[in-house]
């Protein structure tokens, strides 16, 4: 079984980082993983995105056109990538910046006001962790505890940020629980 998650948003929203955290967590759980960044033209200014591939056997093509899941942190990326998601996947929408939905009935649409929640926690930059936590809580793609530890490790060198991000984890998990499944 292989599943893929695409993370997309503005440069500066910490997109590549949450992709990496998910990949690490999956690796910890013994999965085969691959993290494929977007690099090149898009880099400067525009949208940043990456794809995380998680599988129980060696990963063939690292090039994914139709991911299983999508975490969209801003409107352009939702509009660009939502149509590509395979039926049955989860699409997380950062509803703080994205007033619209996918309009798709064949996927599990999860709206989380990640930016607002992060603001509430006192640091807008943790919106990415909120979204990651919510996405994992909903998709169960990796064990939430493992994810929690991975986030801790990730911030090991910036210890002061750990409490903030742990709060973000809780908030994200809760947000996922609160928001109605499917749509």
């Amino acid at each position: 079984m292989q599943s893929e998650v695409m993370f997309a948003g503005f440069g500066g929203q910490g997109i590549l980082l949450i992709g990496k955290i998910l990949a690490s967590a999956a690796m910890e759980q013994g999965f085969q993983v691959g993290w494929i960044p977007s690099y090149g033209p898009e880099m400067r200014g525009g949208t940043a995105y990456c794809t995380v591939v998680i599988s129980d056997r060696p990963i063939g093509s690292p090039i994914i056109r139709n991911p299983k899941h999508l975490v969209a942190m801003n409107r352009p990326s939702l509009e660009k990538f939502a149509p590509m998601v395979k039926p049955g996947g989860v699409i997380l929408i950062n509803s703080s910046l994205i007033p619209v939905g996918t309009g798709r009935k064949d996927i599990d649409e999860l709206k989380v006001p990640a930016t607002d929640i992060a603001n509430g926690l006192g640091n807008i930059r943790s919106a990415n962790i909120v979204a990651l936590a919510a996405f994992v809580a909903r998709s169960k793609i990796v064990d939430f505890e493992v994810l929690r530890n991975t986030v801790k490790e990730e911030f090991a060198h910036k210890k002061n940020l750990i409490p903030l991000n742990m709060d973000a984890m809780e908030a994200g998990q809760k947000a996922a629980a609160d928001s109605p499944a499917g749509s």
Binding site: F10, G45, N74
Partner: protein
């Protein structure tokens, strides 16, 4: 008053260079994001503008233009 100061908010990248050089503190960064995802500059106090073009001269994105308007006034010459 003879001159029209315009900022093309979708060309603007919100860098703030114009704001830094405006002798009259006319400009500010707006709170609403533009199509490119930037928060553009705008004339908060247009009345204070003396049309010195300092902002135009510093704008890396040629987002600011000043045109002469029909009715010529003293301020206009």
């Amino acid at each position: 008053m003879g001159y029209q100061h315009t900022i093309d908010s979708n060309r603007c990248k919100g860098c703030g260079l114009c704001i830094a050089v405006c002798p009259k503190k006319v400009l500010e960064i707006s709170t609403d994001v533009n199509t490119k995802g930037y928060f553009p500059a705008y004339q908060a106090r247009p009345a204070d503008c003396i049309h010195c073009t300092a902002c135009c001269i510093m704008c890396p994105d040629v987002a600011i233009t000043i045109t002469e308007t029909a009715e010529k006034t003293s301020a206009g010459k």
